[in-house]
């Protein structure tokens, strides 16, 4: 019977090796699919159009996964599902991509799930667009820009790495996290989205941007104020009402580009008059 024992042991070790191999292959395949989707998600807006918006970009990102999950007519049907009109924030789109991958994976295994992937996408594009636009375009990018441009005006080349790091660390982190969380949680990703508290962060970032811009404007006003004159400091303070006047003009719907050009012409005319008068 010792031969029987060693045979069982040998069978067991072969089975374990097979399981381990299968597990690593499945994980490897999943990682490959997720990696390809993440990589392709960087070109989500590559074929942006007024009709389909990001539809072709979304299909392009999903294609490696769909080709793994489906074959033949099922693959064509899945591709058609993801070629529908789609438009959301490009960063938070990875969240929808991850969850769609999970839903398609389940569907390919015969599990239709609680919610159809098309309806799920339609339900999530609006909130992701609103939160993403607010956080990235309205909060993070202006903050990074105010920091970078402020440093840039002082002549420091640190402006570039500071700007890129302040924007891209959260940007790339949320891209990767969105895809992984979406894939892990499927349609329950909505709960994760709520837990990130993006609208609260947007408010904080916007307030910080306003403070930074005030610092910048004060610095600019002090730099422009005539030096060496007793009234110079008072002249510099005029920067504050000037900003408020410009706010009023912008709120009246006048284009900032037009205001900028008009301001330039006004300054040139003023300087010309001063030169002619010999002041």
């Amino acid at each position: 019977m010792p031969g029987c024992g060693s045979a069982v042991l040998s069978c067991w070790s072969t089975f374990c090796a097979w399981c381990s191999d299968m597990m690593s292959r499945v994980r490897y395949n999943r990682l490959r699919v997720l990696g390809a989707t993440l990589w392709r998600s960087l070109t989500l807006q590559g074929s942006w159009s007024f009709d389909g918006m990001q539809s072709l970009g979304f299909l392009f990102a999903m294609l490696p996964a769909l080709r793994r999950y489906y074959q033949g007519p099922e693959l064509a049907a899945a591709c058609r599902r993801h070629l529908r009109h789609f438009n959301t924030h490009p960063v938070l789109a990875t969240l929808i991509l991850g969850a769609s991958l999970r839903l398609e994976e389940h569907r390919s295994q015969g599990d239709e799930g609680l919610i159809d992937v098309v309806k799920f996408k339609e339900a999530l594009v609006g909130p992701c667009a609103a939160m993403g636009d607010g956080f990235f375009w309205g909060g993070l990018r202006p903050l990074a820009a105010a920091l970078g441009a402020g440093l840039g005006l002082t002549g420091s080349l640190w402006a570039i790495p500071v700007f890129l790091l302040v924007y891209n660390l959260p940007h790339l982190w949320l891209r990767v996290l969105g895809l992984l969380q979406g894939y892990r949680r499927g349609y329950r990703i909505v709960e994760s989205l709520q837990h990130w508290h993006l609208p609260d962060w947007t408010q904080r970032l916007k307030r910080l941007t306003v403070v930074l811009l005030a610092v910048l404007c004060a610095w600019v006003s002090a730099a422009v104020a005539p030096a060496g004159r007793p009234t110079g400091a008072i002249w510099g303070l005029l920067g504050l009402p000037l900003v408020f006047l410009l706010v009023w003009l912008v709120r009246r719907g006048i284009s900032p580009l037009l205001i900028g050009l008009a301001g330039c012409l006004l300054i040139l005319s003023g300087v010309q008059i001063c030169l002619m008068q010999g002041w």
């Binding site: 960087l42 070109t43 590559g46 074929s47 942006w48 159009s49 007024f50 009709d51 539809s55 970009g57 299909l59 392009f60 294609l63 693959l75 591709c79 070629l83 960063v91 667009a129 636009d133 309205g138 202006p142 820009a145 105010a146 441009a149 840039g152 005006l153 002549g155 080349l157 402006a159 570039i160 700007f163 890129l164 916007k206 307030r207 306003v210 811009l213 005030a214 610092v215 404007c217 004060a218 006003s221 510099g236 303070l237 920067g239 504050l240 900003v243 410009l246 003009l249 912008v250 580009l257 205001i259 900028g260 050009l261 301001g263 330039c264 300054i267 040139l268 003023g270 300087v271 010309q272």
Partner: protein
Amino acid sequence: MTVAALLWAALTSIFAGLDRTALCQVMLARPIVVAPLLGWLLGMPLVGLQAGALIELLWVGRLPVGAAVPPDDTQLAVASTLLAVTSPLGLLPAGFEAVICVFLVLPFGRAGEAFDRLARRANNRLPQLAGEAIEQEQYARVKWLHLQGMAAFALASLATCIALVTGGWLLLHGLVPHLRTVLAAAGPWLWPVLPVLGSAVVLAGGGVRHAWLWFGGTFLLVYVLRLVF
């Protein structure tokens, strides 16, 4: 303006134009990055940095939301840096090359929107062609159609850059020689216009409770501290 400078500008324009919408969006297309980058390629990074900082601040509050196409500040940064760095010696007052070139290309800022819209309209046919490719089970063609979309954005960026550089160059050589004295005297007053205007646009955008108080209080505090120290 040398052929090498034009080639560097064209390459930067395409590379940054792709990052702006179609590829990655890691903000390499923002004026504060792309202008010093081109300036460095042409040998004067600080001129590019100044142009980039000013344009960045002008549109700091501009949101590219949904189907709205914002002005192409990327190509404005590329064009103004190219003009500032390659302008003939002595044509522009020293120290103010960047700010004057920014104002020279600003009037053509809307050109970028037109070319961007053209690219997006050209891409309108792509989803339909992709649908046909799927019916024929030609999945590799879907990838090529997507890449065609990116090529349209690259071409739009290049066309915008060419339009801005041409317009700016004409103004630089047609207008600036007559205004050299005025520009030299007005230089110190011109550069603060854009940062102040950009701040006003952010404040006007709203979204921050008591923004006026935050802005006004910080302004006064920093101004007084700067005077004292």
